[in-house]
Symmetry: C2
Amino acid sequence: MSAVDGPVTSPRLSLNQATVKYASLAGAVDAARSAGIEAIGTWRESVAEVGLATAARTIADSALRVSSHCRGGFLTGPDRGAALEENRRAIEETATLAAAGAPGSRAVLVLVVGGLASLAPFAADAGVQLAIEPLHPMYAADRAVVSTLAEALDLAAPHDPDVVGVVVDTFHVWWDPALPESIARAGREHRIASYQVCDWLVPIAADPLLSRGVMGDGVIDFTPVTAAVDAAGYDGDIEVEIFNQAVWDGDPVAVAARVAAAFDAHVARPVVAP
Amino acid sequence: MSAVDGPVTSPRLSLNQATVKYASLAGAVDAARSAGIEAIGTWRESVAEVGLATAARTIADSALRVSSHCRGGFLTGPDRGAALEENRRAIEETATLAAAGAPGSRAVLVLVVGGLASLAPFAADAGVQLAIEPLHPMYAADRAVVSTLAEALDLAAPHDPDVVGVVVDTFHVWWDPALPESIARAGREHRIASYQVCDWLVPIAADPLLSRGVMGDGVIDFTPVTAAVDAAGYDGDIEVEIFNQAVWDGDPVAVAARVAAAFDAHVARPVVAP
């Protein structure tokens, strides 16, 4: 059954706002609902456009769950004080939006790089889980130095799992020969804060940051990864986050429907009973 | 002292032919010699252009060492018999060229992907070491699935180190958090067949296959990698292999001189005594 013909197969699908980059928060919410998607991953930029109070109301009115909030981190610049303050605001946003979301919402703030020791106490007080996202080694020079799930777990280790978790994003980790072991370890250590899916396109796009594809358009076999994440005990929403110019240029409602159908065809099957 | 003013600092510098892609074997040899470089890494395509006998004579006349021959592997296609035969020819070429090279030449055939079990006996008979080259995870979808030095070492493990080794190429492995341990392990297991250097450019080139830079033009810190390879006991030539359109478009003699100067400035220092 495809998403456009009725309810999506998996109620765990979440539309990450980055997939409909040019839509406002309200537009992204509408697109998700129109495709029968029950959860959304939010981004700080779209919250800033309307203000946190309005954003929270939009989420509350939508009856969508909030699966994560993107993103904190980038604590490597010259003005560390300002960066910390900005990340504290991001933590507060995360707590507010998750509280506004439907039951099952997760107060998870995705971090690209560290600053954990400084942020963890604040996040703990706010009831927010910081989530370290390892990025593909293609980005090791200019985006983040955490390239593998194992490294992210090592960084998280000193902290309470309720406060610091990790993101499993298929685009970033699919190549890792240690992926099955690392996902199993993440499960044992109760660290999986978010599971995100999108495909790896071949060839890589001219801008490697935009080389993500809708599930089924690339080479990733989602079945074993989803099964491993499942076996590791993660039962939260599964976000689809696609940085891709052609996807962004599409109508958000059509994109959400396409995402739901692709999720149904390539990701959801192994999760649900036949 | 720069290479153009006199002898290069390190006699271990080797010019991989891919760095002067449009030069014939004779042209590449001339370019290396003009820059005071004492060794060359050869490619099958340029040998095929003139035939193996002529290629071997060119090498012998040059008095250059042969540091490696590129490349075998690609044993994943539909016609496995033909691929095996092609790899046997590559092994023979490697033995012939290394024999023609100056003392210190290495009969090392660089492999991109497996087929080891089939090729190892033949290589052992020919006195050729097969070298498994892990490629950056950026290429995991369409080039090779061996992404880390640790994986390459695992693949090599069942074989005699004289027959199967690994390539340490800074471009492919610099990002790996386990690199120091893996290089040390490669040393303990006597597997380092070749050490290749070139830089990682930021941003990545539009064609990621051509995103390599001359040492110093990118982000790689060669000092710790070279020190680790040194400590691991590798004392052979160090090849510079640069896939880069602008480098290829340059005059081979000028490119070789530039490579020698960059090697002197960024790679050789930690290797030689002050």
